[in-house]
């Protein structure tokens, strides 16, 4: 068992816009690329050129379909650690390797203390933890803790790699604990929601739902009273030309 801080000064997290995620995997590979050489280095890949290539990734995107027929849609769903306020993955940790930072609420694994028992991955209902088979320790999203305070990076680049790369702008980073922050405002405006709130872990990351569609399912289109030209007939063109002529003679 590992204890949690009573409160955190900030609640840093991601706001992910499901309305514009096109499933391009940019956040997935940019995360891998930064973090395999960063705090969590390495994110091992097993059998990388063989039959069953697999490895540790701190962020994955799943695509699936919801509904059928006219109301069906395809959704791309990025999945990573939600940096819960009361994360079971931390409290189950027998060594104190998993912890939640009091400063900013980031949930981290201290690789030097992790014994690879996987209790945390069993405890996490979101499947956000990734065991590194080769390294023998648990890996997880660090919110790029080695980027967001990194003075070697330009101020505008002190954001997680996934946010930095996302081509559609579907990922936002900030202090969700501060109601005045840009991310909090976005959540308020767009009805951002918690993933599986009934579990009670109070995820910090939020998802913005797809906006309402404007298609045949929502349209109130009524064909206008048919113009005579719609009814066919030999002088459809003639009457059209007359119209064009009249318009140009204005």
């Amino acid at each position: 068992m590992t204890s949690l801080p009573q409160t955190t000064k900030k609640k840093l997290g991601l706001v992910i816009d499901l309305d514009i995620c096109v499933g391009c995997q940019a956040c997935v590979t940019s995360c891998k690329e930064w973090n395999t050489g960063g705090y969590s280095a390495p994110l091992s890949d097993i059998d990388p050129y063989g039959a069953d290539p697999h490895g540790s990734w701190l962020n994955r995107v799943h695509g699936y379909e919801v509904g059928e027929g006219a109301t069906g849609r395809t959704v791309h769903f990025p999945r990573s650690c939600l940096h819960c306020e009361t994360p079971a993955c931390v409290t189950v940790c027998p060594t104190g390797a998993s912890y939640k930072r009091a400063e900013d609420g980031i949930v981290l694994v201290n690789p030097d203390m992790c014994i690879g028992c996987k209790l945390c991955s069993w405890a996490c209902p979101y499947g956000a933890r990734e065991y590194d088979e080769n390294h023998g320790v648990m890996k997880k999203c660090t919110l790029c803790v080695d980027r967001i305070y990194n003075t070697h990076l330009a101020a505008e680049d002190r954001i997680p790699a996934c946010v930095r790369a996302c081509p559609t702008g579907a990922r936002h980073f900030g202090d969700i604990g501060d109601p005045g922050s840009a991310v909090s405002k976005l959540v308020a405006e767009r009805g951002g929601y918690d993933l599986m709130p009934e579990m009670g872990y109070k995820p910090v990351n939020k998802y913005l739902p797809p906006r309402d569609r404007r298609d045949s399912t929502t349209s109130t289109f009524q064909p206008a009273v048919e113009a005579p030209d719609h009814n066919g007939g030999g002088d459809r063109a003639t009457s059209f030309f007359a119209w064009a002529d009249k318009m140009l003679s204005r």
């Binding site: 960063g38 290539p53 059928e68 009091a102 930095r164």
Partner: protein
Amino acid sequence: MSSRRGELDGAGVARLDSEPAVELSRNPADEIKYTTCYMCACRCGIKVYLKDGKVRYIEGNRDHPVNKGVLCGKGSAGIMQHYSPARLRAPMKRVGPRGSGEFKEISWEEALDTATYWLANVRATDPKRLAFFTGRDQSQSLTGFWALQYGTPNYAAHGGFCSVNMAAGGLYTIGGAFWEFGDPDWEHTKYFMLFGVAEDHASNPIKIGIGQLKGRGAKIVAVNPVRTGYNAVADEWVGIRPGTDGLFVGALIHELFANRTIDLDYLVRYTNAPWLVIEDRGAADHGLFVRDEKGVPMLFDKKSGGLVHALTPDASPALTGARTLADGRTARPVFELMSERFLSDEYSPEAVAEQTGLKPEQMRRIARELAEVAFEQEVVLDHPWTDWTGRRHEKMIGRPISMHAMRGVSAHSNGFHTCRMIHILQVLLGAIDCPGGFRYKPPYPKQVPPWLVPHGALQTIRPLEPLGGPHLGFPLGPQHLLLDDDGQPSRIDKGFSWDAPLSAHGLMHMVINNAAKKDPYAIDVLFLYMANMAWNSSMNIPGTLEHLTAKDDKGEYVIPKIIYSDAYYSEMVPYADLILPDTTYLERWDCISLLDCPISTAEMAADCIRHPVVKPDRDVRGFQEVVIDLGARLKLPGFVNKDGSPKYPGGYPDYMVNHERKPGIGPLAGWRGEDGTKTGRGAPNPDQLNRYLENGSFFAHEIEPHMAYFRHANRDYMEWALEMGFRVETNPVIFQLYAEPLQQFRLAAQGHGERQPPDSHRARIDKYFDPLPFWYPPFEEDMVDSGTFPLHAITQRPMHMYHSWGSQNAWLRQITAQNRLYIHRDLGREHGIEDDDWAWVSSTIGRVKCQVRLMDGVNRDTIWTWNAIGKRKGSWGLSDDAPESNQGFLLNHLISELLPEGGGGYRYSNSDPVTGQAAWFDLRVNIEKADGASETEPRFEPVKQPFEMDKPDVLSFGAEFREGRK
């Protein structure tokens, strides 16, 4: 940095007094270098972080015009591309039979000597016996120049199987085209239609744009049989039946006409709608424009009551009314002819509903929405501008409708006309190069079509002499075809022949087939670059492999010598005789030039470079270095000085700086002039590359607001474009709703003129060279039995592998190592096929076994898969049990490169009849359940790996960056 943690009582609770120290500010790089990505056609600016001599991280360059800082899934996996075990490591010569993969590594000197010997012999005897074709080449202004100096007519790049329908359709209509030559006005558009854009062309700009549009509440309509990627986030998905986009667009045009919702003023001002067309059926000039004695097209001026030049500034052009000409004949304006076509019942929503699979109400509604946005929601910018007549306009008023189209339109045999129809829809709405509409990217717009005719007619080919001009161009009539004295094709790919008269990008997909059949003639050397023609870049792979290995009576290969350059051990490598190993994209010089397909955006003229950010650790050379070296060894004009010494002893960078295509105009437009103060035109600047490097490896010149729109008719823009060398004069670009060059071909087919098609081709030319666009069924659909092959089969690449060179990438293949056959649930039910079942897909030429995934968001009559995931065993450095070669599959095996025999027994290529674009989306198939299968078929003999590839069982990339951490 550490802080106290809360403490809890109780046994078993980990109690740490403080949080561990986390190194929050470790320096991630010893050095950051700026270059240009090359994992697709997008050419984004990247920052490469280098640590301890290795690549640590790659991110987008925020200042770059293309990607503005973002980077896609491929670009962000660039490290694995760069360190791929499949990288070739030295030149090789083949020692086993073709296709075996048996090679011996040789020195560069031996490789270049061999290539020079082969190429010099051909050049000295019969230059056409060299066929030089490049694939995803981004240096066509160099490779084309080389081929021109060499003197072979046989040169092109991969556009013939990629996008020539889009390029030619656009350039023959509006003097620009989707993707490379134009973009939606992302900032202002309110209604965006995507046609057949399967997560492709372009990558990051479209993603950035879609994000922007959705944020602003603009509506996105996706016309695509498959609902993935961009189509998944659209407001409205139009799940059209493949190959029927032209009917849908035709119906939209029909509705715009019927509802009187078109921009008449725009048509009068910027299009040939008022130009008069001669109506004299049977005459040699029937269907041509009425022209004066100098050849200037005429229109009827209501003000003067007579005919005037089409470019008379103060005329009051009539769009309607038949006119009697001085010789008593009749002429009618284009507008009337076009209206009659699209007002006809043939294009009514009801008439096209069954073919397209769409409901008439949906088509009617979309037409109304387009009109509503175009005419009721104008965008007005306070930018005064001056048109070509000298009239000043206080504002720029735009119709905020934009469109983008690509593969799903391009890869059909009716793609050229469909593309033209889409542009005409844009023009009718007044939405070309206006605020909120489609915008040109410099150096476009050009004249319609661009004033560049193809070169390479056989009569002009002489040993040791350059070609008379560039290979590729835009014929205005049969006089510009490249034919021999018997009317037969001059080019090995039959480009610019009666088979494919407007093949502006050539027909790379036909080269191997034609060469093996010696049709139209035999060649001696096939020289390919970066094109996987023995695998996913060819139609009918089994047939292609037979052609590559075909032998004559004497046991010699029918294609005697094959030279190939690639960076990786792709499926094509084993089929070549001499391998010139290329570098990775991080090890090379390149220039993405305004002479070719630059990185310009609508807002700025831009070009860029690549430079070696890491040194190769293998004995490899950038292909362009090798081309320049070979040019000097062959003593090609343009590559040697008068004394025969190499003109560019410094290799590619030397060429990039010092080559001049015309005086003052070279590969790079930035920092020209001796002191670097000139833009576009100026003397070579010895310091030019340093200036590029200082600026993040690109150059961008922003276009001023008064030249930002209406550039087809914007005087100041035209003058600036002239100065930059983009244009040769400042006349306005008049949109060609009616394409007279097509009518020239049609007249020839009808028996007029000196150059006429052979009888076997007359009916085809007559039908498809309609000067007004029309829809016809894709050829395969028309020629095969729809009962036997009731389904369409199409492909797309996943975004994380789009247009990329090598999906063997260790990270990307963890996302997709096996492709599935995606079919609609109802279709599965009908065939008793469930998720994960295997099925046979059959076409007229073969069958492929595939594992199925059911889905909902796909047109009911369409099956599809991710393309180019399937790999041949032994290639790309993958192990023999890799899913890519055991479960992954290609549909290419099912696509014939030739159409069935038509009348006279001749087999045309499976291509668009106008442009020669490979029609690989025309494929018709059926499916049946394959019980008990677990592997794909067909599987080909494994190729041997010619050298030891360093394939670790475990990859711990990045561990080295952690060492030494506190």
